[in-house]
Subunit: 303 residues, 4 copies
């Protein structure tokens, strides 16, 4: 995705705080600064050479001070504690931090926990959740799928090429994954509840099946990729898989394949957490594209 | 798509009329008869060896007489005249014909014209339109896309491989077409209004652009495939294309690319009508799958 | 394939004759003239707008007169009669014509017939055959394969997508064809004598088999693509195919699949001749790239 | 690659020793035993559940004793020390070991070092090297390429999708790798010395270039994959790459890309050793297929 055109001049009037996160955030901060905005940062892994145009602040509060926009990470906070595994201290998204922002500030984050939502209300900050954003998910899909492929390679004794595999679920990630597995030469089945998704899987060249048919297919599978946040891949399926087969779960918590059972049954059970942090430069750039167009919409309505 | 399981016994109590249509209808009639139903036919191209289990009737009325279900073609009727290019006479879907059906009959067709809808109401027939059915469109997509590829090959002096091409629109057909063109080695751009569709095109490996950017891209394109029922590919775009480039329109009527202007400008302008009749055995089978599950739903509610 | 760099100045001293051929030759002549050479033409389809930098001559002899290089078409001559289906008269490649060329001239053509070889010897012309050139065949492969796909689409009632198909032979064309059929969603088998080719087909994602296994596979196939100049697809195979299946032969004459028998057995038997003329601009450009590097080699040795 | 037909009865008369190696050898031994042969093993990682039909011997000599065939690993020995990283002791392929084999025994291994070759001559053993076997390399190619993809994913901050990448060399592995990278959505360049290989890369949909053009391309590349056993990717190329770009070398030793220099220049330099051991079940099965057909040839000539 190439960005077209130079950023508008009003970007130069904005102050943006980037707080917390992982290797994606340096790229987000870099691109934010490239618009001409003032960008202050804290709590993400700081590159040895710094980030062009971005100032590293000593505390979350210093980064937030006077900012019109706060950019927080996508991974979920725990209560009011921000996802910031590389930060020197825990970062609390509370009244104190949000109160540092400029009046009428906007904060973007994956999803707001109740304590964060309450603080935002008290401090007059508008929250924007973008974890469910389908456009962003599509832009991140190749990164997630490549990480999934690498996880499958690392955890199998057979090639994906010429293997019988099944993707469970055919949403954004499931469909890109199925296409990629086909391209790698696998014989790909797709189990999905929705007849439309099964028809789309067929158009793609995969073999569609209903969820209820998965247990019958299980004995022939070398790999199952579960992309659905539900325990579709449960006992009935797992018990019929052959020893050493891979069960790779890439759905977000809380509900997912029964990996403990899978392990006890002699399968290779892998929960591919952290795929969202793979290819941070590409994904950070994608996230920034989504953030940028949202900021542009907000500024447009301000007149 | 394989059908699973033997058809239920109640199919043997049904009478089904297949009237009008093209090379798809013999396959539909054949599969309908394979369920055990009584199938009567008129007005489609009759194979030399007949159709197993299907009786050819001398008139539309004879085919319709006493039928519980009437299966009419997808292509649009003109007023009350059925699409039946191979029939010996015009077939009118009027009170006389619909009145032959059994009481409480159901009729499937692509889309009902006002006269047909009025006749159905007068005769107590329930109409089911399935032209817009997205599942069916997905099942037919490979047939339509292969026909599109063949039309492009027949109308160009260059290969699709290594050519710069643009797909306009990224719905069901547009997305399968873009994927196929990429697989054939083209450099594929996708012009779409919807940012979600542009993100999906990017995930696929195509270069997304907004509709407003199409004119700027036009000079570099060897082929444009328009899949949208709107005149997006108009003067501004066509005037900037190079002589001999292909403009292939696969959108249904009425609105589409300005092919007359394209021709006057020295482009190759092709309206790929009739793609829906390509690969009639595959497509007939797909249509039957959709029809079958609808009939099953209706019969289930009858108790 | 982009050409890199501007042509050397010595091209301006050359005279090149382009005689006979089909829609590929205008592109060859155009590119030859773009080097700065003097280019004279006769006997191929002349575009309405002419060919930039190329003079149309009234006779083959006028085109040949004084030329350092003669570029003749790839398709085979019959005795001394050049392949020139659009020429106003038959063109004989005899002492008279070759005698018009400059002393020490070089002539390129697909393959020399005995009378042409004899004339060349008598007139001191060096012949260069390039029909068997593997590089050129690779450059032309996408054009030939796209034409093959279009021929398959035109001659079947089912889609390539989801069809069981077999490519017989795994040379240059066979391997590109198998890859393309896979990309279109077919289940592709590859029958080849050579174990190396079978291993390469497997790496590609196809199912390899020995030629002797083809008859056993035949009943399940919707399409056979024969790329080998030998009657591998004979009675034993054809008799076991199902009615209506496609036998598409794209091997050059003389030996090939037994299409007459195929037709008598109720199969769709197609000899896809003329595929070499498909996408003439792309293919003409490819041929020119091969010709150009050969001319450069010859001129380099002249010092 | 499925094996067709049951093994001939004479396999039951053979004794086969499988000595040294890695996770591939259990699968080789298992398949060897499945023919009915007596199979004795030593020096490879022994699975918890054993290997069906194979006896684990206490020493290399015990495994070799009386065997008609010795199957040694593909990775190179050091002097006379076999590649056997999981063996309890060093295994020497010397007169003592080879002398245990049956008279006229045959030994297969990747490549013979001079001391091994000398021992074989002294003991009357026929050596068969199969490291260079092109068929085997093709059968192993998907495993090697999948491992390469996983290594690239693990060592980059950007996705392969939408990245500008170059494959250097277009042999067996290079061509499968380039095809796979294209399927993953990369923009793929192929640098090759041989014009035939460049033409094949073009047919595949990649952008071919000459080795001399690589330095000019370098600044735009996110990843270089070197598959050639020569230092093509040297200072001139590396100095022009951007910081953080990946140089992944998958060529066998001794000569390869200058990874030390690459690292000093701020690039990510990775030597993907050990790719041959990836997907050991698939690869072991492939190796056995090659070994089996060789053994069959040898036995056929014995009469």
């Amino acid at each position: 995705m190439t960005e077209t055109g130079a950023p508008a001049a009003w970007w130069g009037d904005l102050t943006i705080a980037v707080i917390g996160g992982d290797e994606r955030e340096p790229e987000i901060a870099r691109l934010a600064a490239a618009t001409g905005a003032t960008v202050k940062a804290h709590g993400f892994p700081w590159p040895a050479g710094g980030v062009p145009g971005v100032s590293l602040e000593a505390s979350p509060a210093a980064a937030a001070k006077g900012a019109d926009y706060g950019l927080l990470p996508i991974p979920l906070s725990v209560e009011d504690v921000l996802y910031a595994p590389h930060a020197p201290e825990r970062i609390h998204v509370d009244d104190e931090l949000l109160g540092q922002l400029a009046a009428g500030a906007h904060v973007f984050l994956g999803r707001a926990t109740p304590p964060i939502a309450a603080s935002a209300e008290r401090t007059g900050v508008t929250l924007h959740e973008y974890d469910d954003d389908k456009e962003l998910m599509l832009l991140r899909a190749p990164a997630i799928v490549e990480g999934t492929i690498a996880a499958a390679v690392a955890n199998t004794d057979v090639t994906i090429h010429d293997a019988e595999v099944c993707v469970v679920g055919f949403g954004t990630i499931g469909s890109v994954l199925a296409r990629t597995l086909l391209a790698l030469g696998a014989r790909v089945h797709v189990a999905a509840r929705n007849p439309l998704q099964r028809a789309a899987a067929h158009a793609l060249g995969a073999r569609p099946l209903e969820l209820s048919e998965l247990a019958d297919l299980a004995p022939s599978l070398a790999m199952i990729f579960s992309t659905v946040p539900a325990e579709v891949v449960g006992r009935e399926v797992l018990e019929r898989m052959t020893a050493g087969a891979l069960v790779l779960d890439i759905a977000p918590p809380p509900h997912h394949a029964d990996l403990e059972l899978a392990e006890r049954l002699g399968l290779r059970a892998v929960w591919a957490r952290g795929l969202g942090a793979r290819a941070p430069v590409t994904v950070g750039a994608s996230q920034w594209m989504g953030l940028r167009s949202r900021i542009e919409s907000i500024e447009a309505t301000r007149g």
